[in-house]
């Protein structure tokens, strides 16, 4: 009897009109297999004279020739120096202290050079200000070896010589000056005393000169507020190490808020010490890095932020403000105010609202609290731009009132919202010069491109904070025929001294106060004792003084509250940890750097709350290979619209949206790096908050996300956490219990030797390395990820490969959301699940993150297990254990079975699916000679078919040991470092030798908070974690 049963092949068949089913009926594959591309078209095949026999002959001969040739080793040439520089010994690294000051990132750093090539950026521990390199600064070394750099001066796209450039521009400037036309210098924030002096000399010589400072992402409101209140243009300097109660209203101070660099101090109070830790309350719209680290996070719309801040003022300082907030926010504000009052001078309020009133209110609250963290004597100097001056300049240019425009370190044609006005105006100038490293959106429109050097090839000085200086020195001879802006200013003012001598002179007379210049150069930093007057004040600041001085100080809160109009959808523009303002968009390390919050690389996107997404019909879903896809949305601000992919973001305030700057560049970068959309188009009036309309757009975007499962599902043994109250009052076993396993039906701790399958290996002699990661101190900033990239020659694989989960990062920072309001809730929910029905439904629910989840970051790298599951399954013994606790990986021995990766419970092993160097398919830095100069010569570049993973920087630990042996001395604690622990400025990663009982890591190993990742597996890792403690104590 024949059966009428219908066998369903897929759910698609349920849909009668599905095109896929129809196609599959006709063809085996949905998409046509591109055989033509492979075979070439028929004509060419017929035309060719090569017969099949010939072809086989060629194949045979070439195979034979290749195998013969392979038996002979290639001849390698070695070319020594003619005259070896005394400071260079081949094979020995030199370190130079310098300062990065690219207008967005300012930091004092150490540069590691090998054979004269800078290869890595490290923290300058001598620096008291901005001494830590963030992810972008760590990656900036790769910008030096960017193959798309401008290699010499250009005029109208053609190369010219510097002498021609000098004579032509000087002549033109003199003519314009004589004709009384305006000459404008449009620059980044240099914060450089020498440059200021030079610019004033330039002004003197050419008369009608204006200097406009332009920050792509403006802090103008904060500057104006500070200037109005304290008479000096700068940003309020907060020492978070002195703040025990921190209330932030929309300030991403662990990100790039007011220049960034606050995370190290912030982390100092996040680790419970004698039962105390700081309390951090965050009011914000987007889920920021800062919000993710907060003890209490209140999502609210940007307009509500203004009102909340005004109310906070009224509760703390006094007075009343009108306006109503939703009840729970009102309660949270009241609560925050009472905590602040209780904290008194230990309290601190910060805000990121780009509004002079908001910034004034914050200054007043901090004054009222007499906050110890607020240091009025040393304002931050790393942002000096003025919105008013830039707006006026564009208007003047459009009116044809600007004779000459000389730019340095800026790209306004990309980063201005009214870029087309700017470009129109640029064409009306009689002389336009851009000092630029790239032929970018701006420099391609100027008459002259003055090829600028990278900061690692330049001299310079920076006043980071008032009285806190940094020096910039070249660490390599200029790779190309470049000249820095200051050298050109010297030429134009007819000064023959070099910029180096000029700086030396400026410092000798004004800054050093008798100190040694060479000492300052060696240290890279100098803290002056005498306050120096600013030699040159930008034009802008004068005009602004008049405007901002009018703000009546007491009324700021009321004005702020009045300006808070809740009008539909609001967009908050922000900068991502990886991309910042976008000047390093051609940096493959940064493009592939997964955003700490969304864990998505190679993109920017519109972050949308789940509720809004449902209302607008926007979706995120996983496709067959596990990758993430998302809808597109049309984002319109005042008639300007961009279409951006949508990322549904837990914690995003309902009615608010987020979009990051720095993407959507079109010129001066490789095709692969032209990712995302340009959010600057929506940055109208330099306000990061805009009223916006969102519509669903057609199509679906493919994201390259490295973490697709967002919640912890109550698996508390991955991230152990507790709150301060329990931590202080209860025994360790309540909040950090060792997992139990059954032995003879008795529960036994998994750490006890009886339940161990393996014999213990004696590691008590010599060194035994451990890495401690403190989940309380870790902010998730990601500088360790880039430091690891640079140190270990980790390849960049590109967006499509990341989408296939083939990312190569040795170190990842997992980010987890709670699906209940807290992780605690998750654990309870999981424990209460009983029965199949309940587990199916409730585990399903737990896959979704809460609307305002708790967030936890966890850096995970190879755990270097003492009982490593990977080692036992390797058929060729390519991975083995060392006595010093490191799990070794011999690449040359690996045959690529990938058993080890499958057997690793932590999923930290990475497989080289392709050859990532010298391969046109992966056209990143390792594909050109210039980019390969950044490779670390002490670490082998892996080839295709080889497994790799974190080595616990064995090349660094070995170097420390070898140096000590050569010097014949014992090793002190702190000498052993890995790239990640050295890059971690927050003190979250501590590395060392636990056999040295006095070492910090040995003490951390015995700490009550210590636990191992997935301890129940019994792998006995050498990476230890410290339990996360949240300060959830209300009031």
């Amino acid at each position: 009897m024949s059966s009428n049963k219908k066998y369903w092949k897929s759910v698609e068949e349920l849909n009668e009109n599905s095109s896929i089913v129809e196609t599959l009926k006709q063809n085996e594959f949905v998409e046509e297999i591109p055989t033509d591309e492979f075979l070439g078209d028929k004509e060419t095949l017929e035309e060719t004279s090569t017969t099949r026999r010939d072809f086989l002959k060629y194949v045979g001969f070439s195979t034979a020739a290749a195998s013969l040739a392979a038996c002979e080793g290639p001849v390698k040439k070695s070319i020594p120096y003619i005259v070896q520089p005394t400071e260079i010994i081949p094979g020995v690294a030199n370190h130079y202290a310098t300062t990065i000051a690219n207008g967005f990132d300012f930091a004092s750093v150490l540069v590691k050079t090998r054979e004269g090539r800078p290869i890595k950026i490290e923290n300058n521990n001598l620096a008291t200000t901005n001494g830590s390199a963030n992810a972008r600064v760590n990656a900036s070394v790769l910008g030096l070896y960017d193959s798309l750099r401008v290699q010499g001066p250009k005029k109208a796209g053609e190369s010219i010589s510097w002498s021609n450039f000098d004579s032509e521009t000087s002549q033109k400037l003199t003519e314009l000056s004589a004709a009384g036309e305006a000459i404008v210098l449009l620059t980044q924030t240099f914060a450089s005393p020498s440059t200021s002096k030079l610019i004033s000399e330039f002004k003197e010589k050419y008369g009608n000169v204006r200097h406009v400072v332009y920050d792509a992402v403006s802090e103008s409101a904060a500057l104006d507020a500070y200037q109005a209140k304290y008479g000096e243009r700068g940003l309020a300097n907060y020492d978070f190490a002195k703040a025990m109660t921190i209330v932030s209203v929309g300030a991403d101070f662990l990100g790039d808020w007011q220049g960034g660099g606050f995370d190290a101090d912030y982390s100092k109070n996040r680790v419970p010490d004698h039962g105390k830790m700081s309390r951090h309350i965050q009011f914000e719209s987007n889920m920021s890095l800062t919000g993710a680290n907060a003890d209490k996070r209140v999502p609210l719309k940007p307009s509500e932020q203004k009102l909340a801040l005004a109310k906070l003022y009224s509760y703390v300082v006094g007075g009343s403000v009108s306006g109503t907030l939703p009840e729970h926010i009102e309660a949270a504000v009241k609560n925050a105010a009472s905590q602040l009052k209780k904290a008194g001078s230990n309290g601190l309020v910060v805000t990121g609202i780009q509004d002079v009133n908001a910034q004034t209110v914050v200054l007043e609250i901090n004054e009222a609290l007499t906050s110890r963290a607020f240091d009025k004597t040393t304002p931050i100097k790393t942002r000096q731009g003025s919105d008013a001056a830039v707006t006026k300049l564009v208007a003047d240019m459009k009116a044809g009132n600007v004779g000459a425009l000389i730019m340095s370190g800026v790209n306004p044609a990309y980063s201005l919202p009214n870029a087309s006005d700017f470009v129109d105006g640029l064409k009306k100038t009689k002389l336009s010069v851009a000092f630029s490293m790239k032929v970018d959106e701006t420099s391609s429109e100027t008459q002259y491109i003055a090829a600028a050097p990278h900061y690692l090839e330049s001299w310079g000085d920076v006043e980071l904070k008032k009285g806190h200086y940094g020096l910039m020195q070249p660490t390599i001879r200029p790779l190309f025929d470049t000249r820095q802006f200051q050298e050109a200013l010297l030429k134009w003012t007819g000064n023959d001294v070099s910029y180096h001598d000029y700086i030396k002179d400026t410092w000798g007379t004004g800054i050093l106060g008798g100190g040694s210049f060479n000492r300052a150069l060696h240290d890279g930093v100098f803290v002056g004792t005498i306050a120096t007057e600013t030699v040159e004040t930008a034009e802008a600041s004068n005009t602004d003084t008049e405007e901002t001085a009018e703000i009546p100080s007491g009324n700021a809160a009321r004005t702020l509250a009045a300006s808070a109009k809740n009008e539909g959808s609001e967009l908050t523009l922000y900068t991502k940890v990886g991309m910042g303002d976008g000047q390093q968009a051609n940096n493959p390390w940064l493009q592939e750097f997964p955003d700490p919050i969304t864990r998505t690389s190679w993109d920017n996107y519109l972050t949308v709350s789940k509720a809004d997404a449902d209302a607008l019909g926007l979706i995120n879903h996983h496709v067959a290979n596990g990758a993430l896809n998302g809808s597109y949305a049309k984002v319109t601000v005042n008639g300007v619209s961009v279409t951006a992919p949508v990322m549904i973001q837990p914690g995003q305030a309902k009615g608010s949206f987020g979009l990051s700057f720095g993407y959507g560049k079109t010129l001066g970068l490789k095709e692969e790096m032209q990712t995302g959309v340009n959010a600057y188009a929506l940055y109208q009036n330099f306000n990061t908050v805009q009223n916006v309309t969102i519509e669903k757009a057609a199509g679906e975007h493919e994201f390259a996300s490295v973490q697709l499962h967002n919640t912890l599902m109550g698996r508390g043994d991955i991230i152990k956490e507790t709150n301060l109250e329990i931590f202080n009052t209860k025994d360790k076993k309540h909040w950090n219990a060792v997992p139990m396993v059954s032995l003879n039906h008795e529960p036994v701790p998994v750490t006890s030797p009886e339940v161990d399958l393996w014999d213990e290996f004696d590691r008590s002699i010599g060194h035994h390395f451990n890495l401690s990661i403190d989940l309380n101190a870790c902010t998730g900033c990601g500088s360790c990820v880039i430091a690891c990239h640079a140190e270990n020659n980790v390849p960049v694989v590109g967006k499509t490969e990341v989408r296939r989960s083939r990312d190569m990062h040795w170190l990842r920072i997992d980010r987890y959301y709670s699906s209940e309001t807290s992780f605690e809730g998750d654990n309870t929910k999981k424990d209460n699940i009983s029965g199949l029905g309940s587990s199916l439904s409730e585990f399903g629910e737990m896959e979704n993150a809460s609307d305002n989840p708790q967030v936890a970051f966890q850096p995970v790298m190879c755990q270097h297990c003492n009982h490593a599951p990977c080692e036992t399954v390797c058929p060729v013994a390519a991975t083995s254990h060392g006595r010093q606790g490191q799990n070794h990986m011999a690449y040359n021995r690996c045959v690529g079975t990938r058993y080890c990766a499958n057997n690793c419970p932590y999923k930290v092993r990475r497989f080289n699916w392709f050859l990532y160097n010298g391969n046109d398919e992966f056209d990143y830095h390792m594909n050109d000679d210039l980019g390969r100069m950044v490779l670390n010569p002490d670490v082998v570049v892996r080839s295709r078919g080889v497994m790799e993973k974190c080595s616990m920087c064995i090349q660094m630990t070995q170097k420390t040991i070898l140096d000590a042996k050569r010097d014949g001395r014992e090793i002190k604690d702190g000498e052993f470092q890995t790239a990640c622990s050295a890059a971690c400025s927050s003190g979250a990663m501590i590395f060392g030798d636990i056999n040295d009982k006095q070492s910090e890591v040995a003490k951390l190993k015995e700490d009550n908070r210590m636990y191992h990742l997935l301890e129940s597996v019994g792998t006995k890792p050498n990476v230890i974690y410290q339990t996360k403690v949240r300060n959830t104590t209300e009031a």
């Binding site: 038996c71 002979e72 080793g73 001849v75 390698k76 040439k77 070695s78 070319i79 020594p80 120096y81 003619i82 005259v83 070896q84 010994i89 081949p90 094979g91 020995v92 004696d762 008590s764 002699i765 010599g766 390519a878 083995s880 060392g882 006595r883 010093q884 490191q886 070794h888 990986m889 011999a890 690449y891 040359n892 021995r893 002490d938 670490v939 082998v940 570049v941 080595s951 064995i954 090349q955 070995q958 040991i961 070898l962 000590a964 042996k965 050569r966 010097d967 014949g968 001395r969 014992e970 090793i971």
Partner: protein, 432 residues
């Protein structure tokens, strides 16, 4: 890979003898003073800047007294004054002194107040000697082929005579055999025919067991050789490439006893031993512009003109020997690298040289005897490990080792620890 063709270093006593003879047939000058003592003094005090026949940092000094007297009318007292305090003479406004001073780029000559009149007389006597005639190159060149050809002839004669002898013997035996057979047939004696046996190879083929054993033997043997062949791929022991400049380690490290680490200084502190930069060569070769005639002759025998090689160095370093200055027109030397470790191996020279105190020769072989540098050791992992297994760690006076050595030696119950016991066999110590 291009390799040097070895030439026999045949000794040519005739040539040497002639050279030595000529060197002693110098007509002794009638000047007062002892030229032999003068030579010693000259080499000790003056040779750093002066040569007899060549301008160096200072002028050439052969017949200096004669020249001064003839051209400038200056006597020996002027020389005394100049040598003992040239700056004083210049200051006094002496015309010739100032001329010389300016001519040699205003480099003041070191004062030698310690030299007595006698010493100076001796030196002057030495400078007054006639130049020794160059060794008769023509005769040596002529002598060589005759000597070698005569040797060839004598061998051939002996061989020829032997061959003739053997032919005569064979012929004699044949004749004897033939005569005996004739006698036999004449006497009607039957010569018994040898019975025909199966040839050995046929018997061998028929014996299947033997065939099997042989086949197995051949298979094993060929596997052995194939394995051996594959194992030596990439092992370049004995690799001796032709270098752009014929640099003789034999002369520098052997004959002159220069310490290896004088030139390869980074071996002390770095992972690489470093190929010396050309300025290191020029430290000495600024003064050593040619080799001794004996050395030159030695070089000629292996077809190398050492003086020409020094000229190559000058060209590369951009040194103008005639005017004693750098032209700035330098050309880097592309040496052919001999010791190539694969990229995946980390080797640190300073650990072996400075920490362990291993002699360079342990790995690099008798460098001081090598005319042309070659790879002495196989540089295979087995070779490394063998040494790590057998070599004791040098822990003396090294505070780093004090604790670890005490504990480890107690654990293993040994007096001295080998590198292997210290963990020197772990993969990750060399592969990362």
């Amino acid at each position: 890979m291009e390799k040097v063709i070895h030439r026999k270093l045949g000794k040519n006593t005739l040539c040497l003898g002639l050279t030595i003879l000529l060197a002693f047939t110098i007509s002794l000058s009638a000047q007062e003073g002892d030229p032999a003592k003068g030579k010693a003094l000259f080499n000790a005090n003056c040779a750093a800047c002066h040569q007899l026949d060549k301008k160096m940092t200072g002028p050439a000094l052969r017949h200096v007294e004669q020249r001064l007297a003839d051209e400038q009318g200056l006597d020996r007292d002027w020389v005394y004054a100049w040598v003992r305090n040239s700056a004083g003479v210049i200051k006094s406004g002496d015309a010739y002194a100032n001329k010389i001073y300016n001519e040699y780029s205003s480099a003041a000559m070191t004062a030698f107040p310690q030299l007595s009149d006698d010493d100076l007389n001796n030196i002057l006597a030495y400078t007054a000697q006639e130049k020794a005639a160059p060794p008769a190159a023509a005769t040596t060149a002529g002598a060589q082929p005759t000597a070698s050809s005569s040797g060839g002839i004598s061998n051939e004669i002996i061989l020829g005579a032997l061959a003739i002898l053997f032919i005569l013997l064979a012929a004699g035996l044949y004749i004897v055999n033939k005569t005996l057979r004739r006698f036999a047939s004449a006497q009607n004696i039957d010569i018994p025919e040898a019975t025909k046996r199966t040839p050995l190879w046929k018997a061998f083929i028929k014996n299947q067991f033997l065939m099997l054993v042989t086949a197995i033997f051949f298979l094993l043997a060929s596997a052995y050789f194939i394995f051996g062949y594959f194992m030596q791929i990439g092992v370049d022991q004995g690799y001796e490439p032709v270098q752009p400049i014929h640099y003789s380690h034999r002369i520098h490290a052997g004959d002159n006893g220069i310490d290896c680490k004088y030139c390869h200084s980074s071996a002390r502190v770095s992972k690489t031993s470093g190929i010396p930069s050309l300025n290191v060569c020029m430290n000495c070769h600024k003064s050593i512009y040619e080799v001794a005639p004996e050395t030159l002759a030695e070089g000629k025998q292996i077809g190398v003109d050492y003086n020409a090689e020094i000229q190559k160095l000058y060209k590369a370093a951009g040194w103008d020997d005639a005017n004693q200055k750098y032209t700035g027109n330098s050309q880097p030397v592309k040496w052919v690298r001999i010791h190539n470790l694969p990229d995946f191996v980390y080797f640190n020279h300073s650990q072996h040289v400075s920490v362990a105190g291993v002699e360079c020769q342990t790995c690099h072989g008798p460098v001081e005897e090598m005319e042309v540098m070659y790879q002495h050791a196989p540089l295979t992992m087995g070779w490394c490990i063998e040494c790590h297994r057998t070599t004791n760690v040098n822990v003396k006076d090294n505070a780093y080792y004090t604790k670890i050595h005490e504990e480890l030696s107690k654990k293993y119950g040994v007096e001295n620890l080998t590198a292997a016991q210290m963990g020197g066999l772990e993969c990750g110590k060399c592969h990362y």
